[in-house]
């Protein structure tokens, strides 16, 4: 059907050999990426190549949105303005009270000699698109290395924690949502201060508190906030609400299911928080057995010499 003449001589290696070659190359890359994370450089170069297409793909949606904004009615705008003004009033009052409370707290912390808490800096970012991967829960935002985003920064919206920046490309960053299976947040129950760890629930879009004792004092409707002891999330950000508790006498742990409070699967804008609180350095890890033995031997030797 095509009239290209069949090349009789130059055919290259057999297809099966080629398949074997490329499959082993892919497998090697997979292992390097999943186990050792050696491929970040290659990934950011490729991501930069895909960036114009990604921006172009979101352009029609942005355009439709702009057109929609243009045709919004005056009545709608008035109504929005009124609600926003009322909300602003309420919030400014809350902010004033918060300021005095913060000053008071800082004074009290100084009195008891605790380290000062620095303010958390927040940068607004726009969600570009959700990751095209049904196996994980990730979103991409329009801030990258150029704008000073660092891997590990927490990301929140107006309601609570959305997730954490896990990978930073030059122009975009990848945020792993709190509902991702590999995501963990240390939390605290607001009502009684009980600490727990919230794991992402994967496809269910929920969170799960693992390793909470069967008799732990936790109820349906309890609100969970970040405890801040991990050194990543600032303390006191709302995370989730408990929706279901299954206590089973067979297991020593209770099964606690919570719903995230932030719009992890909706909304357009998020805040990237950069918490630069001065923290004391972590205590050194326990020494491994071999080192400990050698140290013991050395101590024994010095004792012999001294004694």
């Amino acid at each position: 059907m095509e009239h290209t003449p069949p090349p009789f001589f130059k055919r290259g290696p057999a297809p099966l050999v080629r398949l074997f070659f490329f499959a082993s190359l892919s497998l090697a890359l997979l292992v390097l990426d999943a186990r050792f994370r050696y491929t970040e450089g290659l990934r950011s170069v490729l991501a930069l190549a895909a960036y114009p297409l990604q921006r172009a793909a979101t352009a029609p949606i942005d355009f439709l949105r702009t057109v929609g904004d243009y045709f919004s009615t005056q009545a709608q705008l008035f109504e929005d303005n009124a609600t926003l003004r009322a909300k602003n009033l309420a919030l400014s009052q809350a902010a004033q009270r918060y300021e005095t409370a913060e000053a008071e707290a800082a004074q009290l912390r100084r009195l008891i000699g605790a380290g000062e808490k620095l303010a958390v800096k927040s940068t607004p970012a726009e969600i570009l698109y959700a990751g095209r991967d049904p196996y994980s829960h990730k979103i991409f935002i329009n801030l990258g290395e150029r704008q000073g985003v660092k891997p590990g920064s927490p990301v929140a919206d107006e309601a609570g924690v959305v997730g954490q920046v896990t990978r930073v490309h030059p122009l975009v960053s990848e945020v792993t949502l709190v509902t991702d299976q590999d995501h963990v947040v240390p939390v605290q129950v607001v009502r009684n201060g009980l600490r727990a760890i919230a794991f992402g629930g994967g496809p269910s879009g929920m969170l799960e508190l693992r390793f909470t004792a069967g008799n732990a004092e936790i109820q349906n409707g309890d609100r969970l906030v970040t405890s801040g002891i991990d050194g990543i999330y600032p303390a006191g950000l709302p995370v989730a609400t408990v929706v279901r508790i299954e206590r089973d006498a067979e297991h020593s742990f209770a099964r606690v299911i919570c719903r995230p409070v932030a719009g992890v699967d909706r909304g357009r804008f998020v805040l990237v928080l950069s918490d630069e609180t001065a923290r004391p350095p972590r205590p050194e890890e326990a020494q491994s057995g071999k080192e400990r033995r050698s140290e013991k031997a050395r101590r024994a030797r010095t004792k012999e010499r001294d004694g």
Binding site: M1, E2, H3, T4, P7, P15, L16, R18, L19, F21, F22, A23, L25, S26, L27, A28, L29, L30, L32, D33, A34, T39, L42, R43, L46, A47, A49, A50, L53, Q54, A56, A57, T58, I61, Y129, A130, G131, R132, D133, P134, Y135, S136, K138, F140, R167, E174, Q181, G202, P203
Partner: protein, 170 residues
């Protein structure tokens, strides 16, 4: 024209620019902010299948592997999972290329459904091996949707290779 039938048109040779443009458009469609990704066909895989069936000498495993890496990086998934799946897809498509074109649109689509499902299964195996949970059988809707689009996609992609009716009769 002696042969007459529509499928027997003598086509122009495919240009590299056409291939590149089709991949760019497919990537663009993939990057659109879809609501549920499990139900959306993988346009890149579909275009890749088309070119591997039609032009096995122009688009082969090397192209498939490179495009796969681009998809991996763009989607922020494990580097190599689509590269592996697309290489296998290209291999099967080239292997079946002489067979597929003999069938009508429906049976061609059936072949394509199987090829796309094999690629999807490879991705699934890689992700489960990497420790991710099973996302549900809905992921196999995507290859089926892709197969449904096959007749349209193959008609569209042959279009730039068509000659004018007048040219053919000369």
């Amino acid at each position: 024209m002696a042969l007459g039938g529509t499928s027997e048109h003598i086509l122009r040779p495919a240009r590299v620019s056409t291939v590149a443009a089709s991949f760019a458009i497919a990537l663009l469609l993939n990057f659109l902010p879809w609501k549920d990704l499990r139900l959306v066909p993988d346009f890149v895989a579909l275009v890749l299948t088309f070119w591997c069936v039609r032009q096995p000498r122009l688009v082969g495993l090397g192209v498939a592997w490179g495009v796969g890496l681009l998809v991996d990086a763009g989607n922020g998934v494990l580097l190599g999972q689509h590269a592996l799946a697309y290489s296998a897809l290209a291999f099967i498509s080239i292997w079946l290329s002489r067979r597929i074109l003999w069938f009508g649109p429906v049976l061609q689509a059936a072949h394509v459904a199987i090829i796309l499902a094999v690629a999807q299964t490879l991705v699934l195996v890689v992700r489960i091996a990497a420790g991710d949970p099973f996302p549900g059988w809905a992921i196999y809707v995507s290859p089926l949707a892709g197969a449904l689009l096959w007749p349209i996609v193959s008609w569209l992609l042959v279009l730039p290779q068509r000659r004018l009716e007048r040219e053919q009769t000369i």
